[in-house]
């Protein structure tokens, strides 16, 4: 943590940490504390007076079907995004791992979606699936399948998941490929001598050895689906139709900025914070220790 050899006490280190600490206090700590405080308040419709109500906002949230639905929707949305982007990336990485020399070329061709902003990713997919003009919806129509995500919640969810998955494949591919390439070749050779074919080698040797990466990616993907997909949803569905693609982060935004329900929005923020803290703790405690060979 601290260097064995270090500088003696002076005012300098305080000056060095000051910018970061100041920003942290003003823009992170204070607002977070505010969110916690406000989550205990109810404001009247005009924002003129507020009343301290302890946990009422939270009780209200968890008694609210819309919120509970959003909660579960967020859960399966993240699992869908994490599951599909992880499995597609794993599959592609396994393929790339067998074409040693060309692997880096494919990496270049596959990693760029990482750099595309979520809202742009959403726009790309929105355009392809536009009910009147989209190329895919047109093709689907030719096969007799009517696509209109503006009306059908299932299709809207599918579209959002696709866009979110598309963007995340590159990241997962990169880490899977790096993990696979660091599996010692001698292990695979030994297994080949023992008579294991390529597929068997993958499932019995490569896949178990990259478990730490898989778990790490799982956490990252869930965090991604929870928070970074805001732009996708905002661009593609705006949470609709009828709230059927609204996830927690999106709801905080709409309740706070459009619905102007300060207490409720703050309580939602606090719940989100708790989720992030939980995930971070899991990431740092459980994963780093248990899944390490």
């Amino acid at each position: 943590m601290l260097k064995r050899v270090h500088f003696g006490p002076s005012w300098l280190p305080f000056a060095l940490v000051a910018p970061q600490i100041l920003i942290t206090l003003v823009f992170f700590m204070w607002p977070a504390a505010q969110a916690v405080y406000q989550s205990f308040l109810i404001e009247d419709a005009f924002g003129l007076s507020s009343e301290f109500v302890w946990l009422d906002n939270f009780y209200e949230l968890f008694a609210d079907d819309i919120y509970l639905n959003t909660f579960f929707r967020t859960g399966y949305f993240s699992l869908l995004v994490a599951g599909s982007s992880l499995s597609i990336a794993l599959f592609l990485a396994a393929m790339a791992d067998r074409v040693v020399k060309a692997a880096l070329v494919y990496r270049t061709l596959l990693i760029w979606p990482y750099a595309v902003a979520p809202v742009l990713a959403g726009t790309l997919w929105l355009f392809m699936f536009d009910p009147t003009l989209g190329i895919i919806s047109y093709l689907l129509d030719q096969f007799g399948y009517d696509w209109n995500h503006k009306l059908r919640g299932g299709q809207a969810m599918g579209l959002v998941v696709m866009a979110a998955t598309w963007k995340q494949i590159s990241y997962n591919f990169l880490f899977f490929l790096a993990a696979m390439q660091s599996v010692p070749k001698s292990l695979l050779e030994a297994a080949a001598i023992d008579g294991a074919g390529p597929a068997r080698r993958f499932w019995t040797i490569v896949f178990p050895l990259i478990t730490p990466t898989t778990f790490f990616l799982l956490v990252v993907n869930i965090v991604y689906a929870f928070f970074d997909t805001f732009g996708i949803i905002h661009a593609v569905t705006e949470g609709g139709p009828a709230g059927q693609t609204t996830i927690l982060v999106y709801k905080v935004f709409t309740d706070g900025f459009i619905g102007l329900d300060l207490g409720g929005s703050a309580a939602q923020s606090v719940i989100l914070m708790a989720i992030v803290i939980l995930i971070t703790v899991v990431q740092f405690r459980y994963i780093e220790k248990k899944v390490d060979y």
Binding site: M1, K3, V5, H6, F7, P9, S10, L12, P13, F14, L16, V17, P19, Q20, I21, I23, T24, F27, F28, M29, W30, P31, A32, A35, Q38, M95, A102, Y106, L109, L110, I111, W112, Y114, A115, A117, L120, T123, L124, W125, F127, T132, L133, I135, Y138, W166, I169, F175, A178, K185, F216, F227, H234, A235, F257, L262, S265, A266, M273, V276, T280
Partner: protein, 282 residues
């Protein structure tokens, strides 16, 4: 591979090429859409092959925008995005370098307290504290300004951790040698530590530039003034502007322009990008 079975490689190549094509398809469609005129883009099915209007659309997007009231040209939005991305990336790197230096190389009161405080920012992404942070920024009078756009995003636990990690691998003897050579703390920082960390700084810069460029929710809240719109949020405004009749050719051209800088950075500086991604996850 271990066996020399060409069929296995061929299958792998085919699968990968299909994968690359599927991943690339949305962008191809975007490019095609950006090369046709507005009329063609109102007729289904939309074309799959580029048309002749790419440069006309480029010119219009860059200098005119959608043409309606309150819409900005892509040129200005690109500039705003660039400034925001640069300030966020360089700002995060600077404050993180300085605090990592203090935490690793100095013994001072509240050292660990500061460390944990920075650590906590990891758990407070902007999405979970939007409303109160917005209030703070509004109270400080920083709405519609670059400082309001960037400052609340500049604290960075990951960057601080990464530099801390880097500094911890610097041998103690280098500091001792520098002290014998007569270098004080800041001289040591600038002459020895900074140059030694430059690949890490560059790698981090690539990641943070993309992070900054792609900011969406925060600029959406902070900027109401049209002159402060960034290109990433400009797209959304364009989508909203033409509710009934979209000018898809211009929108897709602007989308291309918005994607291009970060994509070029990733592809062009792939080594640094990969290093940045993997190092920050340690």
């Amino acid at each position: 591979m271990i066996e020399n079975r060409p069929i296995v490689s061929i299958v792998s190549h085919i699968v990968l090429i299909i994968g690359v094509l599927i991943v690339g398809f949305p962008v191809w469609i975007t490019f095609v859409a950006a090369s046709h005129d507005a009329l063609r883009m109102t007729q289904a099915p939309i074309p799959l092959w580029p048309g002749p209007y790419f440069f006309d659309n480029l010119k219009d997007a860059l200098f005119v925008g959608l043409g309606g009231s309150g819409s900005q040209s892509a040129g200005l939005m690109l500039f705003n995005s660039f400034v925001m991305a640069m300030v966020i990336a360089l700002g995060k790197i600077s404050v993180s370098l300085l605090s990592a230096f203090a935490i690793v190389y100095f013994k001072f009161p509240f050292r660990m307290g500061f460390f944990w405080m920075i650590f906590l920012t990891l758990m407070l992404p902007v999405e979970v504290r939007i409303l109160p942070t917005f209030e703070v920024v509004a109270n400080l009078g920083m709405l519609n300004s670059f400082s309001g756009l960037t400052l609340p995003l500049i604290a960075s636990a990951t960057a601080t951790f990464m530099f801390r990690q880097t500094f911890l691998t610097v041998p103690d003897e280098l500091l001792e040698a520098a002290r014998i050579d007569g270098a004080g703390p800041m001289r040591f920082f600038f002459d020895i530590l900074l140059p030694m960390s430059r690949t890490n700084i560059a790698a981090l810069f690539v990641i943070l530039f993309i992070y900054g460029w792609n900011q969406y929710l925060w600029p959406l809240l902070i900027t109401t003034d049209q002159s402060m719109v960034t290109i990433v949020m400009g797209i959304k405004e364009m989508l909203e502007a033409g509710e009934s009749l979209q000018q898809w050719n211009r929108i897709m051209m602007t989308t291309l322009l918005a994607m291009l800088p970060p994509v070029l950075v990733v592809v062009g500086m792939q080594k640094l990008f990969v290093k940045g991604l993997t190092e920050t996850e340690k």
